[in-house]
Amino acid sequence: MIEIQNLTKTFGTGAEAFTALSEVSVTIRQNEFFTLLGPSGCGKTTLLRTIAGFVDPTSGTMTLDGADVLASPPYVRPVNTVFQNYALFPHMTVAENIGFGLEMQDRPKAEIKQTVGEMLELVQMTPLANRATSEISGGQQQRVALARALAPRPKVLLLDEPLSALDFKLRKEMQIELKRLQSETGITFVFVTHDQEEALTMSDRIAVMNEGQILQIGGPKEIYDHPAERFVADFIGETNFLEAELVSVDGEVAETRLPSGKTISTRAASGRAGAGKVTVAVRPEHALLEPPGALIDGKLENIVYFGTDTHYHVMLDGGARFVVRRQNQPDAVEAYTIGDAVGVSFNPGVGQVLRD
């Protein structure tokens, strides 16, 4: 329902110009929990604020349900924002805050009262309706900000790192809460975060961004299992990078030769064909530790025990490092010791050739 095409935003001019967004294109679907994920400065907040109407793009188009929105000021767009610092109006009570958007839409008083009541119920803040915003806790403020943005029933809800100020336990609770709200209300959520775990747990689809560009869009599993680029693979979860040589590509399958000389089938990178040196990404939990003579051999450098699983740090012949993650079994005895000669292997189709 939101169509963004070739959006570019440059701040400043001349030598001091800073390009926050560079030819960004994305389509966000109705009733979707869409996340913009990336490190600080990647442009995700700029993109969000462009949708909200606080940033004017230098070039590009954006339509909402087919209608061009870039010409409309923020107070016209049916898009509401949950600000990172909540931005609750200090001179109004909780209820007045929540009702503000409805007031601005000139809804009748009775309707406002009823909707505010519903919103308070939705976020479980009904007993605190008449409190001043300075008298409630951070988590409660967050819920008020949420209710305030939802009350006018916008087409899109924008959330700018809303959970970053909350402590760990509260954050986990709110993640579940947000997901529930989204599916209950059916409103499209566009969520900005730098926390990849948060993105993976909550989203229907994720757009990974870096330096003003979208690197990959996909569902959590797709992004995790099949990162398209080195940055994505590195940013999300932990990854092993193997230098390999591309032998052949057939559709989605690529034959690669590893430094050990053995070849294995992997998933091909989209938009990269031909031969030459490539990097193959393999998740630690998708690899297996075996006796020497496996896919690649090496020496066990370190064993790190984590409670739920154990990490084996292997120094491969040829100099690269590789981590294998294995879930711990009850009453298992550690078979390996540091210094052992070991082998690493993984199944065909597990490795992912990266685009860069």
Binding site: D56, P57, T58, L70, A71, P73
Partner: protein
């Protein structure tokens, strides 16, 4: 797209500024230009001007030595008035500094909670009427005033000392009126002073005087300079204080200017003198801005 939103934002900005700018142009900036124009005209017979170009007024600003309008009985010439204005302003600034610096220091070293109250005590007199404060000084130093009465009562003198209507009176009055303007900026600088630097100086064998001279004073110099300008500039253009305390006998530049619009009937000269005063003030301000900028550069 981006441009139209920017243009309407700019338009809104200028519309918001319009009322303030209109008032200011009409009753502050605009008239200044007219003053410049008037300084090049010829004085009319009964005040006002005749619209014919003349540089007499500017000539009279500096070349006036002994000649004066016959209806007056003053014997001061323009130059002695200029000199008096500068001299008294400098003296006022110096005394204000000698008294204001320790005062600012004192307040800055009070406990945090009381500092605001002390500053309020300094500020209150400042916001009271200039005329009232000048009048208050007058009451004290006049022949029947408190100072003389006390001195006579203590037997130190027999006759009252003529304190009023002297240059001393004017200086005292200006000092009294503008003192808070010296204290405020110095205090602002002092408050930001990092006293661990002072401790370091003591640790390195500096005496109290040395610490003051070599560490504290250089660090608060921006405040001192600001305070000096804030006292010097209004003193230079003072009008009420010299009029009340000088009694028409000790003229300063402000009184001289006023004269041209009263008995002197020489509006162009008054205009030229005003521009002269303005020029001196602008130079002083520029000196301040330059030195303040250099301070920032050297201190990082």
């Amino acid at each position: 797209m981006a441009e139209t939103r920017e243009i309407s934002a700019a338009r809104r900005r200028w519309m918001l500024l319009a009322p303030a700018l209109a008032i200011l142009v009409f009753a502050a900036s605009g008239p200044l230009l007219i003053v410049i124009m008037y300084s090049f005209l010829t004085p009319g017979d009964y005040g006002g001007v005749i619209w014919s170009f003349s540089t007499d007024a500017w000539f009279n600003v500096v070349a006036e030595r002994d000649f004066f309008d016959e209806t007056l009985s003053f014997s001061d010439a323009h130059w002695s008035i200029f000199w008096r204005s500068v001299k008294l302003s400098l003296m006022t600034t110096a005394v204000a500094f000698l008294v204001g610096f320790p005062t600012a220091y004192f307040i800055a070293t009070r406990p945090k909670a009381t500092r605001d109250i002390w500053m309020l005590l300094i500020i209150i007199p400042f916001w009271t009427n200039l005329l009232i404060r000048t009048f208050a000084v007058m009451e004290i130093i006049r022949n029947e005033g408190v100072v003389n009465s006390v001195l006579i009562g203590l037997g130190i003198i027999d006759e009252p000392i003529q304190l009023l209507f002297t240059e001393f009176a004017i200086t005292l009055g200006m000092f009294y009126v503008y003192l808070p303007l010296m204290v405020l900026p110095i205090y602002a600088s002092m408050e930001r002073l990092d006293f661990s630097l002072v401790e370091a100086a003591y640790d390195l064998y500096a005496s109290r005087w040395r610490v003051l001279k070599r560490v504290i004073f250089p660090l608060v110099k921006p405040g001192v300079i600001a305070g000096s300008i804030l006292v010097f500039v209004p003193s230079l253009g003072a009008y009420v204080t010299p009029r009340v305390l000088g009694g028409g006998k000790q003229l300063m530049l402000g009184n001289l200017i006023e004269l041209q619009f009263g008995q002197g009937r020489n509006w162009p000269l008054g205009a030229a003198l005003s521009i002269t005063l303005l020029a001196i003030v602008m130079i002083a301000l520029m000196v301040y801005v330059r030195s303040a900028g250099r301070e920032e550069v050297s201190h990082g």
